[in-house]
């Protein structure tokens, strides 16, 4: 029997919605759309010297995606841009039954029960993918 992936921690994270809003330019922006449900997460990153100085997100989505975005809102400032790729692979590994991420992203452990709901994995990943797209913009030369 599967466990309900809506713990009090998840619901609280979604309600807190840390980092909700948009940054004032200059910043990098990434947007990710879930074609299965129409949800969208837009993540703004201000990147300075390879580190994320500020983050904001606009996440019109389910509880799981909102909680995931909220973790990014609190944990990303001060992290290296390269940490995002590792975060994605760590979260993916956890959703396939592995250990949760450690360190600043340890609160992704709250999503461990989502592993039993394959159709919801993309919900957790939605804001991470948006953040990765924003980070990739930083590598593109500005026109």
């Amino acid at each position: 029997m599967s466990d309900l992936p809506y713990s009090k921690d998840i619901l609280r994270l979604a309600a807190e919605s840390v980092g909700a809003g948009r940054l004032t330019p200059p910043c990098e922006t990434g947007s990710e759309f879930n074609p299965a449900c129409g949800d969208r997460s837009i993540v703004d990153l201000r990147i300075e010297n390879g580190r994320i100085a500020a983050v904001a997100h606009e996440t019109k989505a389910c509880v799981l995606a909102q909680a995931s975005a909220s973790i990014l809102g609190s944990a990303l400032p001060g992290r290296r841009v390269d940490d995002l790729a590792k975060l994605k692979s760590d979260v993916l590994a956890m959703l396939k039954g592995g250990s949760p991420p450690q360190g600043p992203f340890e609160r992704y452990a709250h999503f461990k029960d989502v592993a039993q709901h394959p159709g919801r994995h993309t919900c957790v990943l939605l804001p991470i993918e948006a953040a990765l797209k924003a980070a990739s913009q930083a590598r593109e030369p500005r026109s």
Partner: protein
Amino acid sequence: MMAQAKPRTAAFDPPRKDFPILERRVHGRPLVYLDSAASAQKPLAVLEAMEAFATGEYANVHRGVHFLSGAATQAYEAARERVAAFLNARSAEEIVFTKGGTEAINLVSYSYLSQRIAAGDEIVLTVMEHHSNIVPWHFLRERQGAVLKWVDVAADGSLDAEAVDASIGPRTKLVAVTHMSNVLGTITPLKAIVAAAHAKGVPVLADGCQGAVHEVVDVQDLDVDFYAVTGHKLYGPTGIGALYAKRAHLMAMRPFNGGGEMIQEVTRDLVTYADPPARFEAGTPPIIEAVGLTAALDYLSSFDREAVKAHEADLLAYAREALREFNWLHVIGDAPGKGAILSFECEGMHAHDVATILDLEGVAVRAGHHCAQPLMERFGVASTTRASFALYNTREDVDTLIRGLAKARKILG
């Protein structure tokens, strides 16, 4: 909480024993399958027919001279006859097998309309179409400059035939309309739409993927030019669908896919094509699936279809009444005479979250945009939760749904 019991409106006993999957448990609870609009479960009659054919009669069809090839060809062509009878086509030659409803509509887009449409010509469609009846026309917009003219639905989800008529102009080359909305359950006034379009010399394609399941379809009476169906929603297998098309249209259409079976003659310098329907069935077709489809249509037709319809309407009304107690839940689509599909949004709760909680109660519903994003935009929502009813569902299934929704509200509300 239980819905207030009203007398059942139809003396129909849901044939649950015919569907072995309904006996299974999900997350430790009895399965309540309310996702038949996405794909219906398969009765034993279908499964057994396919197994018997695969283990006793299977071979490739057409052009074979051995016994099994003859038997398989006979079964395959009998399936065509069965579909023709189910839709009341004039003959089996008006039935083209496809891999589903989507391919049937794409076939019309490529083989019929792309030859007849120029930049600025129009295709009329409604905002409640499934993407399968939108994207093939977008192809013609992108590639040939066709213009898509959208017909809105009313606030209750109903479609006015006069609104469709008003959208048909001198440059309209096709009206593409669903027979029954996969989101709202709206049954469209198809016969009136066809009459209005024909009065202006415009052919009509109907997406019958839902309509053929819940309505008794008579393509001759409707006078519709094209009617697309899919097997897996008709209690049949996946991988097979059919396009009904008037013979004159089929004869004038160019091939879609090239390969075996669809040719008359191939030389180094020349290829000529078989007559329809073979012209549109390149390659080895879905043979076992065709046998399954025959069994499915036999199965569905073995019931009094009006009684089935009344049963499904009873489930819809029962659910609709129960949901009135939830002032945080808003049903989208309340057109008079609608089919047994119930879409709704819950205040403060995302459809996927609601569906996940229902799933843990054993209730299978669909959540999302249901491949109908223009309709979601029309109603100002990103997604809905959808419960869809079939002949095997019961009022007890509805009760479980209602309990699950109350639980979802408690957790997420």
